[in-house]
Every structure is written in C-alpha cells, then in structure tokens.
Amino acid sequence: MLDKIGIAKRIAQEVQDGMYINLGIGIPTLVANYIPKSLNVVLQSENGLLGIGPFPTEGHVDPDLINAGKQTITMMPGSSLFSSAESFGMIRGGHVDLTILGAMEVSEAGDIANWKVPGKMVKGMGGAMDLVASAKHIIVAMQHCSKDGASKLLKKCTLPITGLKCVKKIVTDLAVLDVVPGVGFKLLERAPGISVDEIKKATEGKLIVEGEIPEIKF
C-alpha cells in the first residue's frame, strides 16, 4: 500500500520535460518535491504566479507571496506574476499541460466530486471547477476507499459533482488506473503488496484487468 508520499512520488513519474503544471492542495502539492531535477517544468499557482519555488527560509518569508493553499512560497528565476483573471484565462484557454488534484469520489466515466459534502462541509469550490473543465490532462491523487472501507471509485458519484468526464488517470494508495471513456477504470499498476483481487474488491465501478498487472516501481 502507498502512503501519501508514495502517491506523490508515483504521480511525479508522470511529469514530462517542458510541462506547465497546476498542483492542487494536499498530496498534489507534495508532488513538487519528487519531480526529477533534470526536468524543466513550471508550476502554476492560480492566485497569479507561474514559477512557484520552494518554501522560503525563515528570514525570507513574504506575506505578498503565497500559493493557492495560502502557504508562503518563493519564486523561481524567470517567474511571472498576473491577476486572477489572467490566471484562469490561461487555465481555461488550455495553456496548462497538467492538473493534479485530490478527489473524494471519481466515477468510471471520469466525473469528479471534490468540493462539497452536503450538510457537513461548505468551503466552496475555489478554482477546482475551472481547472477540471479545461485541463488537457488531469491526474487525481486519492485514497481508494473511505475510512469505513467504502469504495471511492464508483459507477456514479454520490457527492455533488465538480466536473464531468474529465479525469484521465488516478493514483490511489492501492493502484494506478486510467479512466477509459465509455469503458471504465483500466488497472495499470498495483501498489506494493496489493493483489488484483484486493483492488477489484475496493473498486465499485467497472474495473478492466488485462494480462499481468505489474507492481509500481520507484
């Protein structure tokens, strides 16, 4: 089974040289730590920055420089700053190559729910709906099942939807899967020590298993 770091490390393997990437809050933010230094990529923060750098050292904390999770950050050399309208213009316009975000549920059609639990959580969608509606490639980082064991990879989402038919790839604590439109979740890799049967049991939506399924390699 993968922990949060493991999920982040596996997603980092999907990153390619030259990509502009938007990272969501939580596990997606951790992905930045595991992108190989040999790759030249630019991280976008939807509050108006291309070129997110590492967290600042104690003496260099700047309240005017935060990421979308409101954490203090630095800028890489060659960064650019802009307004929220420009930022979502580049998101909607399809200029961001890869979006990595968390989810509460994903359906076999690629629908995602990650912004609201009726009656419980009313925080708002932030930029998630804009991102999922327009991203060319969306990878979701999530737990395969809830704490009480219920599958989060479903035939249909039960929670309020964030976007329809948008998720392309999912990395969970148990597996790596592609969403194949009109077909279902295609199992690509198993987490270390996890069997195909265990993944089948944990997946409510249609799971496609073809041939030998390799273990995730790091």
Binding site: F55, V61, D64, T72, A85, G126, D130
Partner: protein
C-alpha cells in the same frame, strides 16, 4: 493630472451606505484592503453584500465584518478558513453564493469591461449550472455567466500615485485589478502614495481611470495564514 487623494480610510468609505454592494480585493489575506475593512467596522454600516474570493479568517479581514454582523451576503469561491462564516451559513443567518474562482474573476472583469455575459465551461453539469443557459460550441458545453458590478470596489495596491495609477506586488495582485474596474466608485489603499510621474508608465498594473479615491494606508499587518518555511535555501 486629476488628484484623487483622500485623507484616510474613514474619509474614503464615509458615504458607503447600508445595503451597499461591495467588491473587496485579495486572495486569502494576501492583498486585502486592511485599512478600509477596519474603517467599515468602525462606521458600523450594515446589510453589506461582499464580493470577495474569500471571507477572511475569524479575527482578520472580512471575518471582522462577519463577526459584527455587518454582512448580509457573501459572493465568494472559497470560504474554508472561517468558522464564524460556516456557523452563520449553516444557521441561515448569512446568504452565500459560491462561484468557481475563475468564473468569479471573469465576472468581475466582464463588469469592468462592459461585457454583460460570457460563456465558460466551469461548472457545467454541476449545481453551479442550475438555472443557467447552456450552449454548445465546437462540441463542448458552456454555461452563460453574467457580469458583476459593485457600488463600491475597495482594492489594495503596493504603490499608487495621486491620480490613481496602481502597482501591485507579488501575488497580492489577484482580484484587485478586475475589481478596481468593476466598481461605480473605486477606492484604492496603497502602502506607498507617490507623486504623479514617479511610477513608470510601462509598469502600471491598474490605470488611474478606474480609481476615484486613493490614500496611503497605515499599520499594515499583512497577516500570514499558513507560514511554511524550509530549513535550507
């Protein structure tokens, strides 16, 4: 050049009436008009509709106006850091309209740019789409969204000149430029007010035409929501 300088925050907000529709710049606590928020608190104006990406935290930013029950309605994209907000929302004391962040930014931009409506894919197939016109362009579905405009927009910049030209710093720019253009009256508070001619015209972020009142704020706290540091450079 036209001089738009007012003495202070109290002077800038003095004619904001009860039930006004306000836009307030900022993302989280970054780039928020601290001085004007405090002046509104002191003035005690009630029934406000606040258009702002976030609602501050319990004891800072718009959170202060929520606590004092001066806000009737919030129009925001994310309000997760404010327990008092959540309490008022769940109890029905506060009206809330949650809007996708990019849609909020573009609705403000449209308001300032004279575009009454536009189409965006964000929110299609979700509860955000309820009651909205859907149209298909090149095989993809889009929602029609309307412009937003305000009686008063209140923005915060790093530097400004006496005719209202503004320069923002870092990610404190965020919603401020669009909101500056979408207010019938726009108030700018700046950390440093400079004479006309002191700012490079090549590097103005908000042209002064959008600004009606400007003043140099004081005692900026610039509170940080999540201080994250690394050990080595």
């Amino acid at each position: 050049m036209i001089n738009k300088v007012v003495a202070n925050a109290e002077g800038a907000v003095k004619d904001i009436p009860d039930n006004a529709v306000l836009m307030l710049g900022g993302f989280g606590l970054c780039g928020i008009p601290e001085n004007c928020i405090n002046a509104l608190l002191k003035k005690g104006v009630k029934g406000l509709t606040c258009i702002s990406n976030n609602a501050g935290v319990d004891d800072f930013g718009i959170g202060l106006l929520l606590k004092s029950r001066q806000v009737k309605k919030m129009i925001s994209s994310y309000v997760g850091e404010n327990a008092e907000f959540e309490r008022q929302l769940l109890s029905g004391e506060l009206e809330v309209e949650l809007i996708p962040q990019g849609t909020l930014a573009e609705r403000c931009r449209a308001g300032g740019a004279g575009i009454p409506a536009f189409f965006t894919p964000a929110g299609y197939g979700t509860e955000v789409a309820e009651g909205k016109e859907v149209r298909e362009f090149d095989g993809k579905k889009y929602l029609m969204e309307h412009w937003l405009r305000a009686d008063f927009s209140i923005v915060k910049a790093w530097k400004g000149d006496t005719s209202g030209n503004l320069v923002y710093r870092g990610t404190a720019r965020n919603f401020n430029p669009m909101m500056a253009a979408a207010g019938k009256i726009t108030i700018a508070e700046v950390e440093e007010l400079v004479p006309v001619g002191a700012l490079d015209p090549n590097n103005i972020h908000t042209p002064g035409i959008y600004i009606q009142r400007i003043f140099q704020g004081k005692n900026y706290e610039k509170r940080i929501e999540q201080k994250t540091v690394s050990k080595s450079a």
